[in-house]
Symmetry: C5
């Protein structure tokens, strides 16, 4: 998974039917020191992330697992909200 | 998913049989400020996107979900048309 | 999918059994203006592409769909030959 | 798979239900000479890796195989601890 | 698939149970002119590749197909040994 920051939302009326009811969240990937790294991603949300929160998100087919048995056509989903990043 | 702009079409007669009847759309990925970012992608279309429209598209196996039960050999599909991108 | 140009072939005797009988084609990814972009890829072929032809190819598990019910271990397959790229 | 070094942990209370009970580990990808290469990744763990250990990790849907029959929404999992890297 | 050169091995005692018995090979991706390109990858092996050999390897879930019905958690597998690369 990747660390990221919630930086916005995407509004969309016309979409694949199986995406209906899914909120689309704009995530800026970040490094462990929380500085931005790379292009923003449009994510589905499996854990109710709010504006500005630090999250981790999952790519690929497994990003649709939280929505099973629905086959949601998402390739990026927020799967957790970060409490703390702890270096070792 | 990624944000992108519809910038063209690809015409093709000889193709994998399971792609028959699918329109192929050229998408330029864009950043949230809508400037281009990276290489164009040839996408299938699950929502009737038109020339110049701002869309979001999905990669990987899950990009074939909108066409189930057909097993369409696409790795990039437009799954929604953007009404608005809202930063937070 | 990505646009690409057929630039060569790879010959191989020792290979995974499920790849037997599959021609391996060297594809140079190209941009819509048909200039090269990025590293060449070794592709399986689902549509009989010939030397020098402009094609589009598919990545990931869905690149094995044209060969179902065989589970061919390919992650890149040519799924169409391009007649024309039309900007809009 | 990729080589990497365990460099931290991510603590998270709110997460996708199917991730419950999974420790989240921060991995820095490394080159064979063990110098850092690229962005850190948040991994699930299938082999009990400890702080500072050299590991290899797997991406994509197959990174959820060690947890079957659970469909864990992870796209990166540590699948082994490295004893030695031997050049040839 | 990608072209690559076998450049080493990875030894590992503690690993995901489903990886037991699989040799782990260090592959340096190469361009068609056989010069190195990009980061080395840790691959499983489906065709008995030896030190220094030129191979092609497959990424993603389909890299586990050669080991079916086992669900091996690999995302990179050598699926063939190259006899010759022929430009056209």
């Amino acid at each position: 998974m990747q660390l990221g920051r919630v930086v916005g939302r995407v509004w969309s009326t016309a979409k694949a039917e199986s995406l209906s009811g899914h909120k689309l969240i704009l995530v800026q990937p970040v490094k462990p020191d929380l500085t931005p790294a790379g292009r923003t991603v449009v994510c589905a949300d499996a854990c109710g992330a709010g504006a500005g929160e630090l999250v981790y998100w999952c790519r690929g087919k497994e990003s649709s697992f939280p929505f099973l048995p629905d086959e949601v056509p998402t390739d990026a989903t927020i799967v957790g909200i970060v409490d703390e990043v702890h270096a070792c």
